[in-house]
């Protein structure tokens, strides 16, 4: 059944368990079309579980709706709807070339054809460094370049919604800033983005709203314009 609300993503009562441990408790979240929102929280709070549960990589109970349609609990089927995930730790395929990684991003259209060329050209314009390294083994690139590849590979799917799990992990501040600026640019061009990030100040610069996850619960929803100091942000973490 389809319900039209203007939201591209609606999460209701999402609960995920790892054995006896409940990693995510009854999470509710909304993301409007064309919006970029952040999910913040300390290490181990359940942010990645939330992301994995949305795309069906972790089994969970509750509802996830994409443009009003209930999403199946199967990652491959979720990807087919136009939702791309940049996983934590990048998840690039090291022994394969950069080009092969990008081809895999366009797996749904068989990694060739006019549509493929258009998508490839767009990604290489966004990340010119990848163009110089198309035939290089992805695993031999620097961390920053690998993250660019991970984002580029997700964009090759021409997604309607882009999910990123800790894109700043292990990167130099300058590279992180570069990648986040690219995300902001993508969002300005109309792409909806859900960003999980531990480095809250960086995420708040580009997000319009943020959800704070603490101990597996979404504790607060905040308007990023209202956050003016670190102390104010810290209060949300420890409330």
């Amino acid at each position: 059944m389809s319900i039209t609300t203007g939201n591209i993503l609606e999460v209701r009562g999402l609960t995920a368990r790892y054995g006896e441990v409940t990693a995510l408790r009854s999470a509710d979240l909304d993301l409007k079309e064309g919006e970029l929102i952040a999910v913040l929280g300390p290490n181990g709070a359940g942010k990645s579980t939330l992301m994995r549960s949305i795309v069906g990589l972790t089994s969970a109970s509750g509802d996830v709706r994409f443009r009003g349609e209930l999403l199946p609990r199967n990652a491959a089927a979720v990807a087919a709807r136009g939702i791309a995930l940049v996983p934590e730790g990048r998840g690039i395929f090291g022994p394969m070339s950069v080009e092969e990684n990008l081809q895999l991003g366009a797996y749904m259209i068989n990694g060739r054809g006019e549509d493929y060329e258009r998508r490839l050209s767009r990604v290489l314009t966004l990340f010119p460094r990848l163009k110089e390294r198309l035939s290089q083994a992805a695993g031999s690139m620097s961390g920053g370049e690998q993250q660019m590849l991970a984002v580029g590979r997700a964009l090759m799917a021409d997604p309607k919604l882009l999910l990123l799990d800790e894109p700043s992990l292990g990167l130099a501040p300058k590279v992180t800033a570069e990648i986040l600026e690219t995300l902001a640019e993508l969002n300005r061009s109309g792409l909806s983005v859900l960003l999980v990030e531990q480095k809250a100040p960086l995420a708040l610069k580009i997000a319009s709203r943020a959800y704070v996850v603490v101990n597996g619960r979404i504790s607060t929803e905040i308007d990023t314009k209202e956050i003016t100091s670190h102390d104010q942000l810290a209060r949300y973490y420890f409330q």
């Binding site: 994995r52 795309v55 069906g56 990589l57 990652a75 491959a76 990807a79 087919a80 791309a84 995930l85 996983p87 998840g91 690039i92 395929f93 090291g94 022994p95 394969m96 092969e100 081809q103 895999l104 991003g105 797996y107 749904m108 068989n110 990694g111 590979r153 799917a157």
Partner: protein
């Protein structure tokens, strides 16, 4: 026009990249031209090339583990042997029946088994190999138990039979080339890229829309078909099959060939099968110390070429990098 050192170096690396496969192909050509005892050794090497190429698809491309590929070689071998020697079927028809039977068995076995991962999958596939071995021993009315089946006809169509050693070797060489070419095409297809992706990270592959379970099962069936073809070829070349020929030693030998040749590379199975096939022959002069030298040679290859002999260019590149003086850093 002069070549820069960088151009020469890249040409040298390209030559080294292809040298092991060319050397292995050269050895096959030498055996065809020379005839004699080496034909038998290289012939077995080519049969193993097909078997290992299949194993490489499942292990090298898809990153899974199987200790039970001998089971599928056995199904192909026994189907061919029984249908031709006992029921008088033509070899080609018997081979096709064996391949179909193997593919069905691989589906039935793989569907539940491939839910397992890592060591659990390895143990489950090991059990499959042991079960098929026991079936070959115990089902005496069909397999003739330890006594095996003899009088299996040579390969051929109608009145044309491959009777001479040289003709058989040429046929085996064609089959090996076809199997490697199919493996190369598979690796560079959408399916092959998806297999390598799931071997890197199943979650990342799923997030790209790849149906991981279906792809693993398909790779398993394809590798079983390769094993079945090698089993069929084996019985028609040797003319005999017994359970001892499809036991664990077959798996150990195939693993050694795969790792020595280069797991995940297309030509690795050929290189590994020829090197491991010829190694005992080339160290025969060591007499009592033959096994010791064989073991030491394998250890040395795996220490200095962990990616296998197919990655010789990488070994040389690493050596040159180690020997090159460190660049001075400006203060």
């Amino acid at each position: 026009m002069t070549n820069s050192p960088a151009t020469i170096s890249s040409k040298l690396m390209a030559a080294l990249r292809h040298a092991p496969a060319i050397a292995a192909a050269g050895m096959v050509a030498y055996a065809i031209a020379d005839g004699g005892y080496i034909v038998t050794v290289v012939g077995f090497g080519l049969i193993y090339t097909i078997f290992v190429a299949g194993l490489n698809i499942f292990m090298g491309y898809a990153g899974q583990t199987s200790f039970g590929q001998n089971a599928f070689a056995a199904i192909g071998a026994y189907a061919s042997a029984v249908l031709t020697a006992t029921y008088g079927w033509p070899p080609l028809l018997a081979a096709l029946a064996g391949i179909v039977a193997t593919a069905i068995c691989a589906f039935v076995i793989g569907y539940p088994t491939l839910r397992l991962k890592g060591h659990y999958l390895a143990m489950a596939t090991l059990a499959i190999g042991l079960i098929i071995y026991e079936v070959a021993v115990q089902w005496q009315s069909v397999t003739n138990g330890y006594m095996g089946i003899s009088g299996i006809p040579a390969l051929g169509i109608g009145h044309y039979e491959l009777l001479s050693d040289r003709a058989q070797l040429i046929f085996l060489a064609i089959m090996a080339v076809l199997s490697l070419a199919a493996s190369w095409l598979l690796r560079h297809s959408r399916f092959g890229r998806a297999l390598v992706a799931l071997s890197g990270s199943e979650d990342a592959a799923r997030a790209l829309g790849i149906n991981v379970r279906q792809y693993k099962l398909t790779a398993f069936i394809i590798s079983a078909i390769y094993a079945s073809i090698s089993g069929t070829l084996f019985v028609h070349i040797v003319g005999f099959i017994s359970p001892e020929m499809i036991g664990m030693n077959m798996v150990i030998l195939a693993f050694t060939m795969l790792y020595v040749g280069g797991i995940g590379t297309t030509t690795g199975p050929l290189i590994g099968a020829i090197v491991i096939g010829l190694l005992p022959e080339s160290i025969r002069s060591f007499k009592d110390y033959q096994d010791l030298v064989y073991g030491a040679a394998l250890i040395l290859i795996l220490i200095y070429a962990p990616g296998g002999i197919a990655s010789l260019d990488q070994v040389v590149k690493k050596l040159l990098r180690t020997k090159a003086p460190a660049k001075e850093v400006a203060p």
